[in-house]
Amino acid sequence: MDVIYGIMDAVLPLEALQFSFMKNAFLAILLLTPLLGLLGTMAVNQQMAFFSDALGHSALTGIGLGIVLGVSSDLLSMIVFGVVWAVLICRIKQTGATSTDTVISVFSSTSIAAGLLILSRGGGFAKYSSLLIGDVLAVTPADLGWLLMALIVGVVLWVQMYNRLLLTSVNESLARSRGVKTHLTECAFVVLVAVAVMLAIKWVGVMLINALLILPAAAGRNLARNSRQHALWSVVIALGSGVAGLLSAYAWDTSAGAAIVLYAAGCYAISLAGRSLLKR
């Protein structure tokens, strides 16, 4: 870590980055935001904003169940529950029985209620409130290792599945006629989103995680003409908002997650204006 810190001091001699907790937070942002930016492009194109929002909420249940079952790691119980939950929604959606909107809403409210029921037992929810707003300054070097691994695995999977997912999103029968396993592809995507969201939740918070996934991709979409530009804009906006948000939060002594999301929202507003210029 010392080597990395040394490089950061040399390259980025900012006052805000002189503390190692800020360096860790900065590195966490560099690792997390590109993955969320990439995954966001498809989440936005498939109109899954509501789904990923609900997914974030399920973290509460995951932690709650982890406590009941005596699982020592919050992150592990969140990820396992998030993945199970995502696959379940995906399967129900694929049977085509109920409208997707309704299914997600049912799952979302159930998981929030179940999470609150467990976590607020004995009036003790206050100690979990950091989960709602997140704390990016609490990142440890060990966390960074996990985030780096997640970024690598996430991008590799994303390279593998993107084209198939794109075909599936345009027409399932068409994708299947070209040998795409559409159900598997869709579920693999929601699982990947679930894992990325759960990894980020501790730092960004349940309330804002969805914004970080959706806003950069939504802004990028206004500026892009093709898939490559969309991915590029989305990653650049996610990274830029992340870095700017972190530094601003330090300067203003406020929540980093909130500052990051506000920068992303600002980018979205600008992109709306830019869209009319670029597309005409």
């Binding site: 198939r164 794109l166 075909l167 006629s177 990028g220 003409r225 898939s227 490559r228």
Partner: protein, 246 residues
């Protein structure tokens, strides 16, 4: 000569049936779809046309046999189908160009990393074949119904299929676009010599374009040339007034 041999080359359905949720959607469907011919599938809504297509595409489990037989009457184990769907449900604002969409089907390299020169050439050639090369950089959501049909046709033809399935490619397309589309299909029928199955509601077009017509209502009610099928009692029973308009 191909014409001579291909009377044997066909996709043969023998006693095909589809059951779903305790309901019989199709039973005892037997028909041949010949190479180098356009076979039209007609029938009312709910007659099982889409079900038959899904069985052909291998999406629905079915009873009976679907055989792919070559010029010499031998079974070919593999049947490569090209499919042009009826309509697409996607977000029209999605920043995905025709090139992105086709490259996603042609290669494994994810299109968000860009499109290689080789793939670009392949996409261009495929679009050129259906006279749609100018659509290459157009966002998918900005193509008209007719333009999308051409893009989908270009996709269905690459790699060259044994059987091209056109699922009612008429909805949402104006008459001009439709004729252009079917003329392209007709040209490809001659040059590529593939078997084509067209699902259609438009009996005028079926009469004009189809070599063989199959009237379906859960099973095959009648089949033969358009003239013959349109004169059967079964056709009267299914289409009634529609016939007088012809």
């Amino acid at each position: 000569m191909p014409e001579h041999h291909c009377s044997l080359c066909h996709i043969g359905l023998e006693g095909v049936g589809v059951q779903r949720g305790g309901q019989t959607l199709l039973h005892d469907v037997s028909m041949h779809i010949h190479c180098g011919q356009l076979t039209a599938l007609i029938g009312q809504n709910g007659a099982g046309k889409t079900t038959l297509i899904r069985a052909l595409l291998g999406e629905l489990p079915h009873s009976g046999h679907i055989r792919h037989v070559d010029d010499h009457g031998r079974d070919i184990p593999h049947l490569r189908t090209g499919y042009v769907p009826q309509h697409l449900h996607f977000d029209k604002e999605m920043p995905v160009t025709v090139e992105d969409f086709m490259a996603a089907a042609f290669t494994r390299r994810p299109v968000w990393t860009g499109v290689s020169k080789k793939t670009r050439q392949a996409v261009e050639a495929a679009l050129d074949d259906v006279e749609a090369a100018e659509l290459m950089q157009r966002p998918l959501g900005r193509c008209s119904g007719g333009e999308l049909q051409r893009v989908l046709l270009a996709l269905a033809l690459n790699p060259a299929p044994d059987l091209l399935v056109l699922d009612e490619p008429v909805s949402g397309v104006d008459q001009n676009g439709l004729r252009m589309f079917l003329d392209t299909v007709l040209r490809l029928k001659e040059t590529h010599h593939m078997a084509i199955l067209l699902v259609s509601h438009d009996l005028h077009l079926v009469r004009e374009y189809a070599d063989h017509v199959v009237l379906l209502d859960k099973t095959v009610l009648a089949q033969g040339s358009a003239e013959n099928v349109f004169q059967t009692e079964q056709f009267d029973a299914v289409f009634g007034q529609g016939k007088e308009a012809l």
